[in-house]
Symmetry: C2
Subunit: 153 residues, 2 copies
DNA sequence: ACATTTGTCTAGTGAGTTGCTCAAGAAGTC
DNA sequence: GACTTCTTGAGCAACTCACTAGACAAATGT
């Protein structure tokens, strides 16, 4: 149940791009240096985000990347889906990439216990991540209190 | 962000063991056949659950596995942690397996945006899974309605 | 006693994923 | 047209996942 480095780097990169939103462009190496990310790997991530329509880019000496949508409009859920695929913990409960499980004996039945439980988890994750905007995300760069009640994990 | 087959199989196996709880033992091949799981793989899973104290076993011709704790006392969270490790989506927010992220520039700061966001996700997942008992899980074998509101995932 | 049937343990393995790296090319700028 | 940036694609070592295999230990039946 881990998110990949790709998502992590992507989100950290967007953090930088949020800061210069509306202003100047940022180059790969600037982002990479500030966020401590391998440049060549970061590049792939930025390209993916560009193809998904979040970023614009320019080549040449004054080139670089910019956010093309406002940080209010972008959610962590979007970004993670772009870089990591669907959020669902098992694919038979995914809304964006549903797949009937082949080996599960409940696949043909009316209800599946696993599907029931994992559906709840997926909804919870999606609910949080699809309402967590980049602007709120970038906010916690400066300050912040604590959150929610703490169980183990 | 997927759970492994190990967790899935483990939970499905426990579904069977719940049914005979307090009664007879179940053998690997019975569970495997009913739940459509490769026997030898299932074995590893059952052993792990045994070492964790959820199952007891007997060898020999009348041997097999039994649940040793009541389905009320076992949660999906426990099982998944045993088979898949910590629930936390990144290790710097794990309560059971915390690790300071080495490359993150916020690691030394007071707050990290990623940690903030992922902490919320972890709490949500843990909250659901640590309160979802095996008995409730086994319940949805017979019937069930739908749950929560549906966003994408 | 001894064969049979079960669980126990350790190691191996092929396929796929992750987290990068490299190199050649295309498009801007000066 | 030289230089700088993004763009594309391929490649690759290390690791994880989902199993598989085999030797061994204990319980039972005869």
């Amino acid at each position: 149940m881990k998110f990949s480095k790709k998502s992590e780097y992507g989100l950290r990169a967007l953090l930088e791009l949020c800061e210069t939103y509306g202003g100047r462009v940022l180059q790969r190496h600037e982002i990479a240096a500030r966020q401590n990310i391998p440049v060549e790997f970061l590049e792939q991530i930025l390209l993916a985000l560009k193809r998904a329509g979040l970023l614009a880019s320019r080549r040449g000496i004054r080139g670089g990347y910019t956010l093309i949508k406002s940080p209010e409009e972008i959610t962590l859920g979007q970004v993670i889906r772009i870089l990591d695929g669907p959020l669902a913990p098992i694919s038979c409960v995914s809304k964006t990439a549903y797949q009937k499980c082949s080996d599960c004996p409940y696949a043909t039945k009316v209800s599946c216990p696993l599907q029931e439980a994992m559906g709840v988890v997926r909804d919870a994750i999606a609910n949080i991540l699809d309402h967590y905007t980049l602007s709120r995300f970038a906010l916690s760069k400066q300050a912040e209190g604590s959150y929610a009640h703490h169980d183990r994990s």
